[in-house]
Symmetry: C2
Subunit: 209 residues, 2 copies
DNA sequence: CAAAAAACGTGATGAATTTCACAAAGTTAG
DNA sequence: CTAACTTTGTGAAATTCATCACGTTTTTTG
């Protein structure tokens, strides 16, 4: 729990990525892997990988590399893969539906357990195995999920956010273009698809490789 | 064109965000805005905003703030809003369909002009006004788009990428979990939904706010 | 008009992150 | 067993980025 609180955020953001690739290697039956091989796979500099791993102690062996199974077990523990985080999805539009059908993160530690929408035609149905409830019943039916995925129209974002926060949600993955306001105890990650596309276009024009 | 090449990447990534909010202000009829107000709206520290703007010269006036119209025109020019970047979308699954219907970036400088899929049932149809072609006809029908959105199954990612690169694409927005390999002249932005959700969960457990 | 308030632009600082580069330790081949 | 090779883990340097704090300029108020 209250482990070493000194793992850099940049490192923490890469952990799930490492986990997935190590899992792939394991499924492929690979026994060992070097930071260089892993680097080719995840496209992160090998020195960065070694540095990242080193925050957790000496996971590898000099001249050998890393034992895949050992590494996998370590990451499973570290990322709490055994304990599932329950997630609610708000807004079953195009994007929301995609996530539900995606059967998001089948092999991961997060699971969408309930969805909400204002459209009466959807309420009561199941999409991707997830029941859809009416947004008016949010407080009543969201249980005690602590994470929400927000895929509502941007005008609705702040209102819904306030209700989620009120209800005790502590993490929000915000796919709306709106920048939502939350108390300092709530963490928000923005994924702004239009900004991503535009900034890619900007980089192409102004930062030729 | 060959402007000042010294704009920090972190700044460049925020430009589209600034643009959108300034545009909102303009549509609301606001005439002026301070870095503090903008900061509240986009959730970026006001000093950071002033610093970002300063890379482009003195856009504001002391004691007054920034003139919204002037700022908007400046950003429109800087982000090449007048010149539309044509984009191809590969993979009309749940996520791809969502983007097409999203009518992505109506008011922006990027536009999906063609989509591709292997499903014969989709080929020939239009989704969100975008024609869907068969993936086998990729080379023939993609025109000279320079940016592609990749929403295919991860197994197909590298193969399609190679074809895109061969065809001259210089930017890829990759929504698959695969880390694709490209020549150094091609820019890839990864948006890894599962990593985003997992890292949010990790932060919540290990970095209490 | 004068004083007070607002707000920019930026030097300086500090924090976070990446990368270099190499000693130390282990592995492999003959 | 020895020599050659591999690869880690990490000090130190380099880079990138965010934030502070304040002089300066302009606006606003009385």
């Amino acid at each position: 729990m209250g482990d070493e609180m000194k793992i850099p955020q940049a490192t923490a953001k890469r952990l799930p990525l490492y986990y997935r690739f190590i899992n792939n290697l394991y499924l492929q039956g690979k026994l060992r892997v070097s930071s260089k091989e892993l680097s080719d796979a995840v496209k992160v500099d090998s020195a960065t990988i070694r540095r990242d791993f080193s925050y957790f102690g000496a996971l590898g062996k000099k001249g050998y590399g890393y034992n895949v199974e050992h590494l996998l077990q370590f990451f499973r523990r570290t990322l709490d893969q055994d304990e599932t985080t329950e997630v609610a999805l708000i807004g079953v539009g195009n994007l929301g539906t995609a996530f539900l059908n995606y059967n998001f993160m089948k092999n991961n530690n997060t699971k969408i357990v309930v969805a909400f929408d204002a459209n009466d035609g959807l309420v009561g149905t199941e999409i991707g195995g997830v029941p859809v409830a009416h947004i008016d019943d949010l407080e009543e039916k969201m249980g005690n999920v602590s994470v929400a995925i927000l895929t509502v129209p941007s005008q609705a974002a702040q209102g819904i956010t306030d209700r989620l926060v009120e209800r005790g949600v502590s993490g929000i993955l915000n796919f709306t273009p709106a920048r939502i306001s939350v108390p300092p105890t709530v963490r928000v990650h923005h994924i702004d698809l239009s900004v991503e596309l535009q900034s890619l276009a900007y980089f192409l024009k102004h930062y030729p490789l």
